[in-house]
Amino acid sequence: MDRRQFISGTAASLALWHTQPFAATTLAANKKTPKLIWIVLRGALDSLETVIPAFDSNLSTLRPTIGLAKEKLTQPMQHGFALNPALKNLYTWYKDKHLLPIVAVGSGFESRSHFDGQDFLESGLNNIEHESGWLSRAIELKQHSAIAIAQSTPISLRGSDEVNTWYPSKLKHSSDDLYQSLQKMYQDDQQLSSKLSDGLKLRAITNGQNLSKKNGKFATLAKGCGQLMSALKAPDCAMLELGGWDTHTNQNNRLNKQLTTLDDGLAVLKESLGKHWDNTAIVIATEFGRTAKENGTKGTDHGTGSALLLAGGAIKGGRVLGQWPGLAPQQLFEQRDLNPTSSTFSWLATLLNQHWNIEPKQATKLFDGAPLYQEKLVS
């Protein structure tokens, strides 16, 4: 078996896609096609200020200056956790039982390098495979298709022919007249002609969005993602990425801004998914956590245990899962990081089993043997 399966990330055919986005949104969601949206937060999200263990008295000792004051924690959740106040939309989801945070998770990756950590999370194998991602192995198994909202295929989706990419153009769109002339010119070139009409379909579905303001970037991507996922015969899963989480300095302001961007984008995603929200599971993960103790520059450094956020109409939320390891010095991993008590890959395998009906054995195999958990994640 070739460990680097042939990637042809941009090649899958869009021939089945429908051109009329308006018709698509009026269709009821089909329970038979559960959708999955995989979001990677690159740079290591600080989970301790996202799903905040407000009950743990060690937190204020570890983080005397960057910890949020008690009165700011206005979004309480199960077991004494609080959701960061910037995550307003996500908190509504929580109350609607469509947000399920899982605390103290880890991928099992041992080094604290971002890039390797991300590659590991995306590949899902004990030895990183740059050309084979867990999500593409899952779609191969189910004969599903995927779209990466990216300029090139991320590792998570490498290794399958059924993956497309979409990214809003930074270039000015050409005139319709030019596209028409090209279509005419390509009439004897089947390959180019079918790609061009697919490209025009993609533009139609996403209303030809351009990437303009930097602030609105994630929201733009999320909107396009939702639109593509709710077109007729749309792909079964999508991947989004959001960077900027490496908060070594001045964490409070930066994290607040980042979480707001994420929260706003997710709200747009939900809106553009329309009725498909009901059968969608969103998974939000990051490569590793950050140090439990704040550093000398009002930030945190690379750590180990982090949190996983599951969301969407298909998710049985309104709870907080994961065993809390505690933040006392002896409870920390290497006396510095949140100790992971469960495996990110096991949660992913469990979700794939329940959401996409992948056999337990096969789900485990997707992640080089990560065992499934008993917990019910999908409603």
Binding site: D2, T10, L14, W166, S169, L171, K184, L196, D198, G199
Partner: protein, 438 residues
């Protein structure tokens, strides 16, 4: 004088295209015109070396630590990285020995290193200038040796930290890292599923343990160093042969063996044909390259001569779809348009999905049509072509007309000439099937 099909093939299939004058020269004898172009690639010699970049990186780390938030990377450093990353693309736009720059691109992608993080961003673009370029037309063995010993490769695939499990450094908690050894076998030499196994990977990793990089803090110079204390002592068995050397020679002997292994020869010859001629390489053509390789002890220039000599390379059907890099460079050449600055070329290539030194995998970028003809990618190509056509002085269009007439079907040429504006006419030409393929 009319430009002939073989001249167009010589310029476009083997190179990045050529000017009208050059094509007239190619008309007379396309094969010898091409062979004469197999000359060394020459980079901008004012740009810093890997050793100089290593000093930048050390300073960068030191200042970042000392200044914390207030620290800003020196613009000189940032500028140097950009220039290094863009240099080979910029040279390829203007140089006449186009086939040699294509060959450089081939081997640079064969030995792909990715610019990720402060260190690799500074080092990745130095590999092709320092290890690949100088050995491009010599023996594959020399090329391989110099690539594997280059700091960019040693650091990219973590060999600089590897220590044999029975070496002195192993007692200090260091261990063997198989990363580079595995990729040498799988990507650089024999290719996957070609008869080696995990024991061979370990034997090679042991053989090259201690192949490391001088630390600029300690020694004034950077570059390759052999750390005896990290080298795994004892004999190694690779592919059934025993290697009894007890130092840097052990790994060298192993690489020498791998460079001429039959699996390596056929793997690389097939890859060359895939790159230049067809996604589905003709075995007859591949065999011609293999034979020349064996006759010349792996002389790359001679192997390229075999490719040029073979009639199978000159079939009129255009079987290769240009990669974004090929498309951008050949478009700029067609319009005789030099990239305005380093940022322009880097941004353009990234936008089209093939940022320099950004493959993100030691396997490099894909080299067949299916990697590049995605719907979204095609739309981006069209919009970029339109932007380029709009930005340039439309008067120059007349200079490329004879070439387009020779290249394109009469139907498509008529469409180009009847477009509503010169800009649109040029966009159509750049996006025509005849220009998108080679």
């Amino acid at each position: 004088m009319k430009i002939t099909t073989p001249a167009l093939i010589a310029a476009n299939r083997f190179g990045y295209g050529a000017s009208h004058q050059q094509l007239l020269r190619a008309n007379q004898n396309p094969k010898s015109w091409l062979k004469q172009q197999l000359t060394p690639v020459i980079f901008d010699s004012s740009l810093p070396s890997q050793e100089q970049m290593a000093q930048y990186v050390t300073e960068h780390r030191r200042n970042k630590k000392a200044l914390g938030k207030k620290y800003k990377r020196s613009s000189e450093h940032v500028q140097a990285i950009r220039q290094l990353m863009a240099d080979s693309s910029i040279q390829a736009v203007s140089m006449d020995n186009s086939i040699s720059w294509r060959l450089l691109d081939f081997f640079s992608n064969h030995f792909s290193v990715t610019a990720k993080g402060a260190k690799m961003s500074a080092f990745a673009p130095t590999l092709e200038r320092e290890a690949i370029g100088p050995n491009l037309l010599g023996s594959f063995n020399d090329l391989l040796m110099s690539v594997i010993k280059h700091p960019a490769m040693l650091i990219y695939l973590n060999n600089e930290k590897s220590a044999g499990n029975h070496s002195k450094l192993a007692r200090k908690g260091k261990g063997l890292n198989e990363n580079l050894a595995r990729e040498i076998l799988e990507l650089h030499t024999m290719g996957v599923n070609s008869g080696y196994n995990q024991n061979d990977v370990i034997a090679l990793a042991n053989g090259i343990s201690g192949w490391s990089v001088k630390r600029p803090k300690k020694s004034k110079s950077g570059g390759f160093t052999f750390l005896r204390a990290a080298h795994e002592p004892g004999n190694q068995t690779l592919l059934g042969d025993s290697y009894r050397q007890q130092g840097v020679e052990q790994g060298e002997a192993m690489l020498e063996r791998l460079a001429k292994h039959p699996a390596t020869v056929s793997y690389i010859c097939r890859k060359i044909v895939t790159h230049f001629i067809s996604d589905d390489p003709d075995p007859v053509l591949v065999n011609k390259l293999i034979t020349r390789w064996q006759q010349t002890n792996g002389n790359i220039k001679q192997v390229m001569f075999a490719l040029i000599d073979a009639q199978e390379s000159w079939l009129p059907a255009q079987n290769k779809f240009k990669t974004p890099r090929d498309f951008v460079i050949s478009s700029l050449r067609l319009l005789d348009s030099k990239p305005k600055n380093t940022q322009m070329i880097i941004r353009t290539l990234s936008l089209l999905g093939q940022g320099p030194f950004k493959a993100g995998s030691p396997a490099g970028y894909g080299d067949t049509m299916s990697h590049w003809d995605g719907a979204n990618a095609l739309m981006t190509r069209i919009d970029w072509a339109a932007k380029l056509a709009n930005a340039r002085n439309a008067k120059k269009m007349s200079g490329v007309e004879p070439q387009l007439m020779a290249l394109m079907s009469s139907r498509n040429y008529t469409m180009v000439m009847r477009a509503e504006s010169r800009q649109q006419s040029l966009t159509l030409a750049l996006m025509s099937p005849e220009f998108q393929r080679r």
